[in-house]
């Protein structure tokens, strides 16, 4: 993307535009995506060595949200269903990990697949009734899931720690890494995030991914194509819950504390807002949404201490007005128009 600009700054100024154009042509969309991913990964790996621990923690949380949003994107962006209750799956993953660490002293890497599996099964169970519903009705049922979760967590005090929650030791960095705790947690989260993105990417490129897209774009046509609607809708729900559960598990590692009040209904709504603002159905949507969910509330707090919610809400409205396809769509538009300008030179 930025290649041609550097060429024009080079010594061979006379034929620079022609070379710039040739270079721009050689960067196909596929290659551009790989370049972007490589640059992003390089930046992500150097971040924890550049920033103060608090910022490192913030970017860790961006990735945690991104993994949850990845799951929500699968469901909403790719399969065309809606969930106002994804905070519940996030919470289930977080609590599953916390209980495993607290009660059974399991080694923490083990908690990730188990928490993900628990969320998957729960998503499957809740996805089954959801298959018969669509639109507003589905929204209402998933919202109900998010609402009844908090009282439920408070009720089973012996396991969940009730309103007090559970406090846990965070994963300690192994001595050989020489990393501080915040840096270690950051890299753990980065590894999970990369894994989650690879998994989701592979899933969507497969035959199953095509089936989900078909369901989203035209249910009736998908059905006459031989796509079993209930099966794929339930599966989309389960996978989506699995990613949210995995994110919840990493959340527990990073925060070292879970309590019912961390998973109120607002979390579910914020997640949905995050993926819509980030960009539904796009590759970078979950990451941009994660940045939005993490930083915008704290920026809003800086602007006006009294009404962070108001600023947050207003910003969502502004983004949706300026970029109806989300931040990812906006970024794509900006990239394309810059490229066109560079090519014309």
């Amino acid at each position: 993307m930025r290649g041609p600009a550097e060429v024009t700054d080079g010594p061979a100024r006379t034929d620079a535009p022609a070379r710039g154009r040739a270079l721009a042509r050689s960067i196909t969309p596929v290659r551009r995506r790989w370049i972007a991913v490589a640059v992003l990964l390089a930046v992500a790996c150097s971040l924890p060595f550049q920033l103060v621990p608090f910022r490192v923690f913030q970017f860790t949380m961006v990735m945690v949200y991104a993994v949850a949003l990845l799951g929500l994107n699968l469901l909403v962006g790719h399969a065309g269903q809606i969930s106002l209750g994804h905070g519940a799956f996030f919470a289930v993953g977080a609590y599953a990990a916390a209980i495993m660490l607290d009660r059974w002293d399991l080694p923490y890497p083990l908690t990730l697949p188990i928490a993900a599996a628990v969320a998957f099964v729960l998503g499957l169970a809740l996805g089954l009734p959801a298959v018969r519903l669509r639109g507003l009705y589905l929204a209402l049922v998933t919202l109900a899931i998010a609402i009844f979760l908090v009282p439920l967590l408070k009720r089973f005090e012996s396991v969940t720690g009730g309103s007090m929650g559970l406090t846990l030791a965070k994963p300690a960095p192994p001595a050989w890494t020489g990393l501080a705790e915040d840096q270690w947690l950051y890299f753990l989260t980065l590894a999970v995030t990369v894994l989650a993105f690879l998994l989701a990417h592979g899933l969507l490129r497969s035959r199953v991914g095509r089936a989900l897209h078909a369901v989203r774009d035209n249910e009736a046509a998908a059905e006459v194509m031989g796509v079993r609607l209930p099966f794929y809708k339930t599966l989309a729900f389960a996978w989506s819950a699995m990613f949210a559960g995995a994110a919840g598990c990493v959340y527990t590692w990073v925060i070292g504390f879970v309590s019912p009040d961390s998973f109120v209904v607002t979390l579910s709504i914020t997640l949905l807002a995050g993926i819509v603002v980030g960009g539904l159905g796009s590759f970078s949507g979950p990451l941009l949404g994660g940045l939005f969910v993490m930083f915008v509330p704290s920026i809003s707090q800086d602007i006006n201490d009294a009404a962070p919610g108001v600023i947050f809400g207003l910003l969502i409205i502004v983004v949706m007005y300026v970029a109806p396809t989300g931040l990812a769509g906006l970024a794509g538009r900006v990239a394309r128009s810059t490229e066109n300008i560079l090519r014309k030179e």
Binding site: H213, A220, A222, M225, G226, R228
Partner: protein, 241 residues
């Protein structure tokens, strides 16, 4: 009618919710034949095709090569070899042409075969090959109809249901499309049921034809017999014999 009946519909009623659209339709289509369904708007032509592919409620019996299809779900019927090209084409607009075609082969396993079938479809519709990476929404109406038929062929159907393939297309494009449908029918021995407003074109490629009015078959016969019928000529062909 045909002695070797491939598709047999007996006393078929169908509709939406409380509204019954088809009232006891009987017809049969021979193996490898093209059967045209003619009739005015609202006669139930589209509903008949939907009943065959399981998209509406039905009563009565539908048998394909002896096996019952009635009251099965659309995806189960699709797996039994019925490919429905719906009215309005049912294109997955945001997906690429290639993704649309591959979705057509959804019921089938075996990668090698699917690749071979993609080549086969490109043989019928060369224009699709040049558009593989384009999103389907950017195709012209005629190209989208070709895509819809190509996608249906990807499932290697035993029975192909075409709903108004000429809708919204230029006459030349329509003619080309019907020529290809006939080629497909001849080369692959695919049985075809085509619903069409343009009775001339439909009768040109069909062996059998049925006229549907108010949810009932009012006239059946060979394409030539139907063409020669004075009533049909007046109502659907636009001239007197």
């Amino acid at each position: 009618m045909s002695t070797d009946s491939f598709l047999t519909i007996s006393d078929l009623s169908a509709g939406y919710g409380d509204a019954r659209v088809l009232h006891g339709v009987n017809l049969s289509v021979g193996r490898g034949e093209i059967c045209a369904i003619l009739g005015p708007n609202g006669a139930g032509k589209t509903t008949l095709l939907r009943a065959l592919s399981g998209a509406v409620w039905t009563r009565g019996s539908v048998r394909l090569d002896g096996a019952g299809l009635a009251r099965r779900s659309p995806d189960a019927i699709a797996r039994r070899g019925v490919a429905h090209v719906p009215e309005g084409r049912g294109t997955f607009m945001p997906l690429t042409v290639e993704e649309n075609l591959r979705l057509g082969a959804f019921t089938r396993r075996g990668r090698g075969e699917v690749e071979a079938d993609l080549d086969r479809i490109h043989g019928y519709f060369p224009v699709l090959k040049t558009r593989l990476r384009q999103v389907a929404g950017s195709l012209s109406g005629g190209e989208q109809q070709m895509l819809a038929i190509g996608r249906a062929l990807m499932s290697r159907p035993r029975l192909l249901l075409l709903d108004e393939p000429s809708l919204g297309l230029a006459p030349l494009v329509t003619r080309e499309l019907f020529r290809i449908v006939r080629t497909i029918n001849e080369q692959e021995r695919t049985t075809v049921v085509v619903v069409e407003q343009n009775a001339h074109l439909a009768l040109d490629i069909a062996q059998q034809a049925h006229v549907l009015e108010s949810g009932r078959i009012v006239l059946s016969g060979s394409a030539d017999e139907i063409r020669a019928d004075e009533q049909v000529a007046q109502s659907y062909l636009g001239y007197r014999v």
